[in-house]
C-alpha cells in the first residue's frame, strides 16, 4: 500500500516505484526521521562521554576569556557619489545561453554580486528565472576557474601571463594578416551577441581567407533547418503562449528547455488558473519525461522516431480528411501524408488533438522539439500556417545569421581541414569541443595537427588541455557584452564586478586579434549599439539601456512568412517507415538536455549538481532512464551499470528505472562524466557524448548489455517522506497532500479541494492562540501553475547561504535545501501522471516543532513567523522529528568550513551562516521582510502588498508562489487563501499552516463543461 494514500482515497499518489510496490525498506524510511546510519557515531561509553564533557567544559572556560578578533573598518578614500556602504543595489544585465538571453537584475552588496534575479522588464524573464541563471553566481566565485593564461606543451601546463599571450598572438596575427588570414579558423559557441557578430564580420573583412565555425552540442539546428525547408530561408520563431488555448508539443519542452522558456512558463501558467472559467489544454507526445510533459493534460510516451508518426497522422487527418487546404502544388506532400494515414499506428489521442486544433484555429499552436528531424519541423510550420496560428500564437522573424552552416557540418568541416593540415591557427572562443564534439569527429586528434591553438575558457577544461594556449575568460558578470532575448530584445551585458582573475571576453580577444585600436569590451559594445540607439543623445539612451536592462522596441519585427513548395515531402514520407516498437535487446537511445549541467558547462557548479532533477529527483548523476517494462526486458534495475553500444562506440552508464517512458527507449543526458571540470564536476556521472554522432545528434539505435556491477545513485525522491500512514484511525478518511480536479469539477464544485478534508472541523487548541495584530505573513502555492522547474530551490539556496553537502551526504538524506519540490506520480507505472508540490516550512500557527524544543531555539514571533534562533540551538533534532512536513534541515557538519576568500564572497551578508550542530529551515526570507520594513519606514509609509517577496516567489517563472500579509484584506495572498481552491496540507492534525496550496486543475479533453 502506498504510504501516501489512505485506504479508499480516490487517487493513489506515489513517489517512486518502491513506493508503488509498497517496499518494506521505504516503510522503514518513512518511519525513521533520518535514514539508517545517519545519527550513528562511533560507540562511546558513558565514561568516555563524561571525560569528553569535562574536557570541553574546561576548554570552553579557557576560550571565554578572549575578546573576539579585532575588526577593521576600511572606508573608501574616495567614496563614489550616491554610494551608501552596506546597502544592496541592483543592476540590470543579461545572461546569454546558446544564443538566447534572459534579462537579469543582480544584487550587488558593497560591489560584490550576491544574488541574481529576473528582470521584470525583460520579455524573456518578466521577473522569473530558470535554475541556471540563479546558479550563475556560484560559477562566478568558483575557485576552480582558471586564474592566469597557460602555455601548454606536451601535457605540461606552464603558468604564463597576458603579456606573453599578447606577444605571441601579435606576432601570429601579423603573419596571418600578411596571408589575408589563410589558415586561420575561429570556433565559437552559439551566441546572440550583436557585438560578437560585428567583430566576426570585421575579422572576416580584415582576414578574408579566415573561416568562422560554430558548434553547440545541444544545437537547435533541426528547428532552423525545418524553418528553412518550410519558408525557403531560415526563420526564428517564438511563441505567444498567452494567446494559445491548445498547445500540442511533439517532443518539445517549451516550459523548460526552449529559448524563452521562462517567459513561456509564465504565459502558460496564467492560463491554468481557470480565471473566467477558461483554461488552455496541453498535449505532449514525447520520448523523455519532460517538464512540459509533466504539466500536460494529455501525455503520450512514444519513442523519438515514432513521434513523427503522430505528427504525420495529425497533419494527414487535418489536411486530407478535415478539409484544411493544402498549399498549392503539393502533390508530393499529399502522397507523404497518405502514407502516414495508412500506417496502422494511430493513438486515440489523435482524435482529440485534431478536434481541438480545428476548433481553436488561430488560438492553437503545434510545436516540435530540437530532437525531431527538420521535416517534422517543416510540417509543424505548415500546420501552424494552415490553421491560422502563424502570426497569432507563433511569431516569425528572419534568422539574423542566415548564411551559417549547421553546427554538425561546421565542426566536422573544421576537424577535416585540421586533420588535413589546412589549419594553422585556431582560436576557440569558449566551448569544450574535445569533450562534446560528435563522436565521429575526432576533434582532439584534429587539434593535435594545428600548430597554434588558443582556447578562451572559464576553466582549464578538456579542450584547454589539448590546446597550446589557454586564456582565462571573463565571466558574464565581469565583462561588457550584449545579447538578444528569445524575441530579439537587445540587452547590454553589464559587469557587476571587475574581473576576479583578469579574464578576457570573446569580443576583447577578437579585438586584440584585429588590432584596430578599440580594445575594451565597453567601447566595442557602445560602438555596436550606437546605430540601434538612433539619433539623439547617445549617452542618455545608453544610460537608459543600462538602467532598464534592455533597449525598448528592439525585438525583431514579427512577420508571417508564407510556406514554399514542400520539397521536403520525400524526407517526411521516409519518416512514415518508423516502427513504434523496438526490437528485442536493442533500444532507441534518446538524448535529452540535462536540466542541471546543460551541455556539461555547469558541471562544476555544486548548486546545480545538488539540485534534484525535477522528474527523477536524482542528484549528482545522469543515469540512463528506462521504463519498468524495458528494465525488466533488459534484466536490470535502478543502480545497475550497463554497457551501451551505439555507432560502434561504448559507454558505461547506470540505469534508473523511471515510470512514464516509452517501452524500448533509454533516455540519456550528456554533459556528465567530465574529466577536467574541476573539483566538483570531475568524475560525476557518465560521459555519453561518445554515443552521439554528427548525423544523428538526438537519437541512436543502441544495444544494452548489463555488466553486473552496481553504482550508487543519490536520489532524494524518497527522502523527507510525509508520513500519513501513522494515523491509522484516519485511514479511511482521505488525507491527501495533493488535491486536484478537472476544470469541469471546479466549475461544478468550486470548493472541491476543501471537501477532501477530514470531517473533524477545527480541532480544539491546548495552547493559547496568538492574536497577530500587526502583519500576519502567509504564502500560497498554486499547484495548477507549478511546473516543478526547481528555480525556487536554487534561489533559496543563493539567498539563504545554504550549503552544498555532496553526493554521499545526499544519499544519506542530509541535503539542506529549505524548499524542495516533491514529485508524485499517480496512475500506473506505464503511463503515470506527474504532480509537483513545493514543500517548505508552513510556519504553523500551532507549530509542533516549537512545542518540543527544550531550549526555546525555535519559537513564534508576533507576525506568525516560526523563527529559528541558531545561537540557542543545541541540536537535539526533536523539532525535525516532530515536524509533520519534514522541512527542517540539520547541519551535520560545518559545511562552510575551509572556504577560501573568493568562495565566501557568494554569501548573502544579511543572513547568518550556520555552523555544525544547528537546525535550520525556511524563514520566509525574514531578512527581506526586515529590509522592506526599513525601507517603508524610511519613506514614512506602511508596508504595501508586494513590498516583501521571498527569493522563491521572486524566482518562480510561473508566479505559483505568492507571499504577503494575511491581515491585509486587499493582499494577493489573502485573496488566494480565501480562494475556493485553497487547502492546507495536513490541516487535519491542527497545525494551522500559514502556507496554503491551491488545488491543481487539469483540463483533459472530454470534460464537457471545460473547454479549451
Amino acid at each position: 500500500m502506498s504510504s501516501l494514500s489512505g485506504q479508499g482515497a480516490g487517487k493513489a499518489y506515489w513517489r517512486s516505484l518502491e513506493d508503488l510496490a509498497g517496499s518494506v525498506e521505504l516503510r522503514a524510511l518513512a518511519e525513521r526521521e533520518f535514514p539508517e546510519g545517519v545519527a550513528e557515531e562511533p560507540a562511546t561509553s558513558r565514561r568516555d562521554f563524561l571525560k569528553l564533557m569535562g574536557a570541553s567544559l574546561a576548554l570552553a572556560g579557557a576560550t571565554a576569556c578572549r575578546r573576539w578578533p579585532v575588526e577593521r573598518i576600511v572606508p573608501f578614500a574616495h567614496r563614489p557619489e550616491g554610494y551608501v556602504p552596506g546597502e544592496p543595489v541592483q543592476f540590470a544585465t543579461a545572461m546569454d545561453l546558446a544564443g538566447a538571453a534572459t534579462g537579469l537584475l543582480v544584487t550587488s552588496y558593497d560591489g560584490r554580486p550576491i544574488k541574481i534575479e529576473g528582470n521584470p522588464l525583460h520579455p524573456s524573464s518578466l521577473g522569473g528565472t530558470d535554475p541556471l541563471a540563479q546558479a550563475a553566481l556560484l560559477e562566478l566565485y568558483d575557485p576552480d576557474r582558471s586564474t592566469a593564461p597557460l602555455r601548454i606543451a606536451r601535457g605540461q601546463q606552464i603558468a604564463s601571463s597576458f603579456e606573453d599571450v599578447e606577444r605571441f598572438s601579435r606576432e601570429l596575427f601579423r603573419q596571418l594578416r600578411e596571408r589575408r588570414g589563410e589558415g586561420l579558423r575561429v570556433l565559437s559557441e552559439e551566441s546572440s551577441s550583436p557585438s560578437l557578430r560585428e567583430m566576426r564580420s570585421r575579422l572576416l573583412r580584415a582576414l578574408p581567407a579566415a573561416r568562422w565555425h560554430e558548434w553547440e552540442p545541444l544545437t537547435r539546428d533541426a528547428a532552423r533547418e525545418g524553418a528553412a525547408l518550410a519558408f525557403g530561408r531560415p526563420y526564428r520563431s517564438w511563441l505567444l503562449l498567452d494567446r494559445a488555448d491548445v498547445i500540442v508539443c511533439l517532443d518539445a519542452d517549451p516550459l523548460m528547455t526552449e529559448p524563452g522558456a521562462v517567459r513561456y512558463a509564465r504565459d502558460f501558467a496564467r492560463a491554468r488558473r481557470a480565471e473566467g472559467g477558461r483554461m488552455n489544454r496541453l498535449y505532449a507526445i514525447e520520448p523523455a519525461l519532460s517538464i512540459t510533459g509533466a504539466s500536460a493534460d494529455h501525455r503520450l510516451a512514444l519513442s523519438r522516431a515514432a513521434v513523427a508518426l503522430v505528427a504525420g497522422r495529425i497533419a494527414a487527418e487535418l489536411f486530407l480528411r478535415c478539409g484544411l487546404p493544402l498549399p498549392g502544388g503539393a502533390e508530393e506532400l499529399r502522397h507523404a501524408l497518405e502514407r502516414f494515414e495508412r500506417h496502422p499506428f494511430r493513438p486515440p489521442l489523435v482524435t482529440d488533438i485534431v478536434r481541438d486544433l480545428l476548433a481553436a484555429r488561430g488560438r492553437a499552436v503545434v510545436l516540435a522539439g530540437p530532437g525531431q528531424p527538420p521535416a517534422v519541423h517543416a510540417l509543424v510550420h505548415l500546420l501552424n500556417a494552415a490553421l491560422g496560428n502563424a502570426g497569432r500564437t507563433v511569431a516569425y522573424a528572419p534568422d539574423p545569421d542566415p548564411e551559417r552552416e549547421s553546427h554538425a557540418e561546421s565542426i566536422s568541416a573544421l576537424a577535416r581541414d585540421a586533420g588535413a593540415g589546412r589549419v594553422e591557427a585556431l582560436l576557440l572562443l569558449g566551448g569544450n569541443p574535445v569533450f562534446d564534439a560528435p563522436a565521429d569527429v575526432d576533434f582532439a586528434g584534429a587539434l593535435g595537427r594545428v600548430p597554434h591553438t588558443i582556447h578562451l575558457s572559464l576553466y582549464v577544461n578538456e579542450t584547454s588541455r589539448a590546446c597550446a594556449w589557454h586564456v582565462p575568460r571573463a565571466h558574464f558578470l565581469e565583462s561588457w557584452g550584449d545579447a538578444r532575448g528569445h524575441d530579439g530584445t537587445l540587452s547590454v551585458v553589464q559587469p557587476l564586478i571587475e574581473p576576479l582573475y583578469d579574464g578576457r571576453s570573446p569580443i576583447e580577444l577578437l579585438a586584440h586579434a584585429l588590432d584596430d585600436g578599440v580594445t575594451s569590451g565597453y567601447d566595442i559594445v557602445r560602438r555596436t549599439i550606437a546605430p540601434a540607439l538612433g539619433g539623439g543623445d547617445f549617452e542618455k539612451g545608453w544610460r537608459r539601456v543600462l538602467h532598464d536592462g534592455l533597449l525598448e522596441g528592439s525585438a525583431w519585427a514579427a512577420e508571417t512568412p508564407s510556406p514554399v513548395r514542400p520539397t521536403w515531402a520525400p524526407a517526411l514520407a521516409a519518416l512514415a517507415e518508423a516502427d513504434p516498437s523496438a526490437g528485442p535487446g536493442r533500444v532507441e537511445l534518446v538524448f535529452a538536455r540535462d536540466l542541471s549541467v546543460y551541455d556539461g558547462r555547469f558541471a562544476n557548479n555544486g548548486w546545480l549538481q545538488e539540485l534534484p532533477d525535477p522528474i527523477t529527483r536524482v542528484t549528482w548523476d545522469n543515469p540512463a532512464l528506462v521504463s519498468p517494462s524495458t528494465a525488466a526486458e533488459l534484466g536490470v534495475g535502478t543502480g545497475d551499470l550497463v554497457r551501451i553500444r551505439a555507432a560502434a562506440r561504448e559507454a558505461e552508464v547506470a540505469v534508473f528505472v523511471l515510470p512514464g517512458l516509452p517501452a524500448g527507449t533509454m533516455t540519456v543526458s550528456p554533459g556528465y562524466g567530465r574529466r577536467a571540470a574541476g573539483r566538483v564536476g570531475d568524475g560525476v556521472g557518465f560521459d555519453v557524448y561518445p554515443l552521439r554522432v554528427g548525423r544523428a545528434l538526438w537519437r541512436a539505435e543502441a544495444e544494452v548489455v548489463p555488466t553486473g556491477r552496481r553504482w550508487p545513485i543519490a536520489s532524494v525522491q524518497d527522502h523527507h517522506l510525509i508520513d500519513v500512514l501513522g494515523m491509522k484511525e484516519r485511514g479511511r478518511r482521505a488525507v491527501r497532500l495533493i488535491r486536484e480536479g478537472t476544470l469541469a469539477d471546479f466549475l461544478d464544485h468550486p470548493g472541491f479541494a476543501k471537501q477532501a478534508r477530514g470531517h473533524e472541523g477545527e480541532l480544539p487548541q491546548l495552547y493559547r492562540p496568538w492574536s497577530y495584530e500587526g502583519h500576519k505573513w502567509g504564502m500560497t502555492v498554486d499547484l495548477s501553475a507549478c511546473i516543478g522547474c526547481g528555480s525556487c530551490t536554487i534561489a533559496c539556496q543563493a539567498e539563504n547561504n545554504i550549503p552544498i553537502v555532496g553526493k554521499r551526504e545526499v544519499a544519506r538524506g542530509r541535503e539542506m535545501h529549505w524548499i524542495r519540490v516533491d514529485r508524485y506520480f499517480s496512475g500506473t507505472a506505464d503511463s503515470p501522471e506527474v504532480r509537483f508540490q513545493p514543500m517548505t516550512c508552513h510556519h504553523c500557527e500551532n507549530a509542533p516543532c516549537e512545542q518540543v524544543c527544550p531550549v526555546g531555539a525555535t519559537l513564534h514571533d508576533h507576525e506568525g513567523l516560526n523563527v529559528m534562533v541558531y545561537n540557542r540551538c543545541i541540536g537535539t533534532r526533536y523539532c525535525s522529528n516532530n515536524c509533520p512536513y519534514k522541512v527542517r534541515r540539520f547541519n551535520w557538519f560545518d559545511n562552510h568550513r575551509g572556504l577560501g576568500p573568493v568562495e565566501k564572497m557568494v554569501f548573502n551578508p544579511e543572513v547568518s551562516v550556520r555552523s555544525r550542530g544547528v537546525m535550520e529551515k525556511c524563514t520566509f526570507c525574514t531578512q527581506r521582510i526586515e529590509a522592506a520594513r526599513a525601507e517603508a519606514k524610511k519613506q514614512g509609509r506602511p508596508l504595501r502588498d508586494g513590498d516583501v517577496e521571498p527569493a522563491c516567489a521572486q524566482a518562480c517563472p510561473t508566479e505559483a508562489i505568492v507571499f504577503g500579509d494575511l491581515n491585509d484584506p486587499g493582499s494577493r495572498v489573502r485573496r488566494l487563501q480565501d480562494h475556493p481552491r485553497a487547502y492546507g496540507v495536513l490541516e487535519e492534525i491542527g497545525t494551522r499552516p500559514r502556507l496554503k496550496y491551491l488545488a491543481r486543475l487539469r483540463n483533459p479533453a472530454g470534460s464537457e463543461s471545460g473547454r479549451a
Binding site: 575588526e71 576600511v74 572606508p75 578614500a77 546597502e87 523563527v867 534562533v869 547568518s912 526586515e930
Partner: protein, 227 residues
Amino acid sequence: MQPFAMQSDKNSPFVFPKWVDRTRPALAVVLFGVLPAYLALLLGFAGSPRTTDVGYAPEQPLPFSHALHAGELGLDCRYCHTTVEQASRAAVPPTDTCMNCHAHIRGQSPKLLLVRESHATGMPIPWVRVHDLPDYVYFDHGSHVRRGVGCVDCHGRVDKMDVVRQVEPLSMAWCLDCHRDPDAHLRPLEAVTRMDWVPPQDRAALGRRLREVHRIAPSEDCSTCHR
C-alpha cells in the same frame, strides 16, 4: 541496566554502599557553598564590563579626536557619518571628507600624514571597529535615528572622547531594556545628534508623546535582530 549503581553487594537492597553516608557533609558544602559561589561568579563574570567590553578603546591608526571635532568645533555627527539616517550603517567617512577641511587647515601636520597618503593613493585608512556587534545581530542605524533614539544613548558622550571607547555593554539584555521600555531614550528628532541635550523635567511624558507621534512599538521578537 544500572548506570548509576556503584559497587553494591548483590544481596543488599541498597544501591549505594555504606561509605557514601560519610560524604554527606562534603556534599552539603558543595551544594550550599561551592555551587552558589560558582554561579555568582559565573553571572558576575558574564555581566562584567570586562566581558561585555565596556571601556574597550583600541588605538586607532591615527589620533583622530572626536572631542576636538564633535566637541570643541561642534561638528554635527552627520557631517561625517552621512548615511546614518538612511542606511543600516552609519558609515565611517571616506578620506575625502577629512580633506574637505584639511586641504586648507593644518595641511602639513604630521598627525595627518596617513590621511594625506590615503587621499593621494586611494588606499583606505584601516580604522579599528570599537562597537562590534556579533555577526548574527543585524542592527539598523536609520530605523533608530529617524525615530528619536539619540546617538549618545548608545555611544555615550563621544564629544568628550579623545579616543572613542565603548560605554554601553551592547548586550542583548541591554538592547531589550530599551525595546521593552523606550520612553526614557526617546528625544525630539532635532535633538538626536545633540550630545549635550538636556531632557525636560518630565522625560517619561515626552517619551510617551514621541512614541505616539512616531508610532514606535519596538519588537521583542528574535526575528527583529537575528536572521
